[in-house]
Amino acid sequence: MAHALREKAAISGVGDTAYTRGTTKSGLALQLEASLKAIEDAGLSPRDIDGVVPYFPGGGIAEDFIANLGLPDLTLSLFVPMGGATCVAAIQSAAMAVATGVCKNVLISVGRTGYSGARVSTRLQQFPQFALAAEFEAPIGMFAPAQLYAQGARRHMELYGTTARHFAEVAVKTREHAILNGNVVMNKPLTVEEHHASRMISDPFRLFDCSLESDGGAAIIVSAADRARDLKKPLVTIMGVAEGHPESPASIAQRPDLLDFGLTKASARGYAMAGVGPKDIDVAEIYDCFTFTVLRQLEILGFCKTGEGGPFVMDGRIGIGGELPINTHGGLLSQGHVVGLNHVIELTRQLRCEAGKAQVKEAEVGLVTGYGDMGDGSLAILRRAA
């Protein structure tokens, strides 16, 4: 029997602001600007929103959405504090809410001043999920995800022979896609040589292995599939969606297998709910906080075996026109860092055939992941149902 939630909900609207480094707008203003665009994209009025899942911590809370959008009767206000896994995991909560009738239209949104506001090294210290890292790792100089995740990347290189050339391929292909998109922070071509010459941040991660600190907002609307069918845009349904939490979720250091993420659990459940497998995926938007994180997630998702993520991304396979185009918008590495909600927006646009120069031909089924904090994971599989 099909999963009770399969294709019961849809992404009915998407919206984003300009992605920049530098803005005078507040995070809340960026979040509301993107929200209004997503609502308009769906052909709805702000008055139709009855559920909100704002990214937390940072940005607006339910009270801000009521006050600014005049929401007449908010029936659900949720936080999903899973770092970069939040936005995709929030789709699961939203799908449950609209499928059961608790809500009609749920707004998931992010507004971020990651460049013009607090930078990564100070921001993270305030998160409860980072309390263990703050007590045991920050005093020895390990603060930032770039450092904490670098140890896993180094282990993968030592065990499987993964190289900086493999990392560079992800960075270069993602940049090519960003240039096709246009609404991106990084709009100049990147070569493998430039990647290798960029300064070391935390070995093995160089500057161009790391996602951007940028300003911007993003939002999506999740509606019941039967309602979304009558809205403005082609119907994109949620076939499968899942979140997963790894062992030792607040400390990578103490995890028995450093290369095991919450996505391991989420992907099994997400594929099962969707009733499809890796071979059915036409396009994938993979959470790219680091180049290496993309390689490892491709392994976990079953596109290749463990240890083969490096060779898998070579030879044009992940480019537009390749076997598995990934991060067709430029991702967090080159478009902007709105905690991966831009990945959901891009996948929706791909499936609606609205992706412009980066359009993947005949894309019908696509996959998007989230990866957050110390390894939380989330996955959604979407389908063009129109």
Partner: protein, 140 residues
């Protein structure tokens, strides 16, 4: 009085704030010992310190001195000092070590060149007093 601009003072080292759970671990480091939390019921070791044993759910535990030896699980070399307190000592190696006691410790590794590092290499925990109450670990 000089009006020349003064360089901004370097930030202070981020310091651990011991909790009711972790106090015995930090007291151990101060005394030159690696004190690890063991379940008083099933005996299993756990780190970082926490109130409940995830294996048998006992809330009773005791801290015991553990051997200081282990082998390298992986490492990173920190070049960009995300907190500029660490700028002067960058780049520095941080090794994640599988301690013989059965937990991992993440700490700076000194006296070994980056090019000589390999998984499985034997290292020993050492102690660097920072204040009268706080001592931080490192490996040699």
């Amino acid at each position: 009085m000089s009006t020349a601009p003064q360089p901004a003072p370097l930030p202070e080292r981020p310091m651990p704030v011991p909790t009711r759970e972790s106090q015995a671990y930090w007291d151990g480091l101060r005394d030159g010992k690696l004190m690890l939390q063991h379940c008083a019921s099933c005996g299993k070791v756990r780190h970082y310190p926490r109130p409940v044993c995830p294996h048998c759910f006992s809330m009773e535990s005791e801290f015991k001195a553990a051997p200081l030896t282990g082998k390298v699980h992986t490492w990173t070399v920190c070049h960009h000092p995300f907190n500029f307190f660490f700028k002067a000592q960058s780049p520095f190696i941080v090794a994640l070590v599988d301690m013989d006691a059965g937990v991992r410790i993440n700490a700076p590794l000194r006296g070994i060149a980056e090019g000589d590092l390999e998984i499985g290499q034997r290292v020993t925990l050492a102690f660097e007093p920072i204040t009268k109450d706080i001592t931080l670990p490192y490996f040699t």
